[in-house]
Amino acid sequence: MLDLKLRHQIGAFSLDLNFQAARGITALFGRSGAGKTTVINAVAGLITPDDGYIRVGDMDLFDPARGVNLAAHQRQAGYIFQEARLFPHLSVAQNLRYGMRYRGARPTPDFTDIVEMLGLGALLQRRPAMLSGGEKQRVAIGRALLAAPRILLADEPLAALDEARKQEILPYFERLRDEMDIPILYVSHAPTEVARLATEVIMIEAGRIQAHGRPSEVFSDPHSLPAGSREAGAVIEATLTAHHEDGVSELRNTDLALFVPRLSGDLGRKLQLRIAAHEVILATQKPQGISALNVIEGTIHSIRSGDGPAVLVAVDTKLGRILARVTRRSAHLLGLDEGRAVYAILKTLSVAREDIG
């Protein structure tokens, strides 16, 4: 368990927040410059905040009131950076083992287990310069884990990778989230990643916490992202219940089925699914003869308009709250208003694979 309270001033920017993070992935989400990286750098001991405290489990990392400020190397905080930061003069195996000699008597993951889990067996003798971006990041994950951290920090670990490499790395973070018994602080500005990985989301804006909760709660709030943003989209939780032969998988939440492109994974698996707000169509009557497989009945909870042509409509359904991004004009023509019954329409093929995890 991470328990943290920070106050820090850098020029005109001020950071003032406190939160706790349990095991699983706690995503620090927000625009660049919001202060996310400052938070994890403070936990890692790479910067010293003006005031506050940082505790991991029973260990005080920082508490000026009691004169505690552990040096970075004493904090047992594993750090996965955006640019891997492998040591160029060492082989992959030497990089992986780097933190092992400093970890003392702590119980640690087995070297071969980590190598196997991350698929690094064939790379051990290589130098970092000979690795692809995705391979480098896998080595960086292994290196951090083998130092036996009590908390794991990840700063936009996928941001420097192309889409295919992101898909290669995402499953490893899912495994860390599900299998590791330590808190993971994961900084990201990509809603897709956060929706898929996060156990909890902390939305940070200008150094303050804007919202804190499960992704399904935070992302279904139409105020969580600007109405003009194409990145708006609610997250719903569902269970994988069937793989159909025509290439469609079926998810269920309560008794409502949702059809999405074919997924991998065992039936019964719990999933977080992000539904991009701009892919959702609203209708005031149940549409007939329509190709979209998902027509979901609901009630408008709220409407938020920004400066642009779009409004964000929050619709309460049996699946949970869904966000739809429609034009101000459509909202006006259809007479959309709070409490109005509507149908949210979602094409199966408009659900992106990377939004499900």
Binding site: H73, R85, P88, H89, R103
Partner: protein
């Protein structure tokens, strides 16, 4: 070749190599420390240290030699104190080594500082996050990554020490077998009516040693930068 080199020439060559070797070796750790302080640390008086280190590069060598004479000469308090322990520099080959070390120091520090600054501090942060204490970060990361520059600095310092003349002759004079290094020997030969041949031979030897040092440093630098650049050998 051995016919060409008389005992006086051999003595000068051997003495030059000895003086330069010890001058380089003894000042290497200090140069590395100063380079690290200048490259990585912020402290009061940093600019003063920087200026002091560079002073011998700018001052006329004769001035540096005279300052050394005032500080460590046989009449100076420090020199007398050291002489009591049989550690005097005055008119002794160690004095030539001291003069060479002082003159080579700024060049060594400059080369080392540049290569230390080229090591990405972000890699050092990564090492600290893996539990490496500061000395280990330096030993396992900063030093190996900057080794080509450190060695280049050492070779540069050695070459400078081989060529040192002004400060040496001012500080410890020109005594055969003690302080008559190659440059002093060439100077001596040129003062003699029949000394031209001896001077020419030593000039050739100087050129040979200089080229050897350059080639050696080039080979070292290339091998190391390959290793550090992460290309498989």
């Amino acid at each position: 070749m051995s016919d060409l080199l008389g005992p006086a020439e051999w003595a000068a060559i051997a003495l030059s190599l000895k003086v330069s070797f010890w001058a380089t070796l003894a000042s290497l750790p200090l140069a590395l420390l100063v380079a690290y302080l200048l490259a990585r640390c912020n402290f009061f008086g940093k600019q003063i240290l920087n200026a002091a280190v560079h002073l011998p590069l700018i001052l006329p060598p004769v001035v540096t030699g005279y300052v050394l004479l005032l500080a460590f000469g046989a009449q100076a308090p420090v020199g007398q104190a050291l002489a009591a322990f049989d550690l005097g520099f005055a008119f002794h080959w160690t004095g030539a080594a001291l003069a060479a070390a002082v003159m080579a120091f700024p060049l060594m520090v400059r080369a080392m500082r540049l290569s230390l600054e080229a090591v990405d501090p972000k890699l050092e942060d990564a090492a600290r996050s893996l539990g490496a204490p500061p000395w280990a970060v330096f030993a396992t990361l900063t030093l190996p990554l900057s080794l080509p520059g450190v060695l280049a600095g050492a070779i540069l310092g050695f070459a400078k020490a081989m060529g040192e003349f002004g400060a040496t002759i001012t500080f410890v004079s020109n005594i055969p077998n003690q302080t008559r290094t190659i440059p002093s020997a060439i100077y001596t030969f040129l003062q003699q009516p029949d000394g031209e041949q001896g001077a020419l031979i030593l000039v050739a030897v100087s050129i040979f040693i200089a080229i050897l040092a350059l080639v050696l440093s080039e080979i070292l630098a290339r091998a190391l930068s390959n290793r550090i650049g992460g290309r498989d050998a």
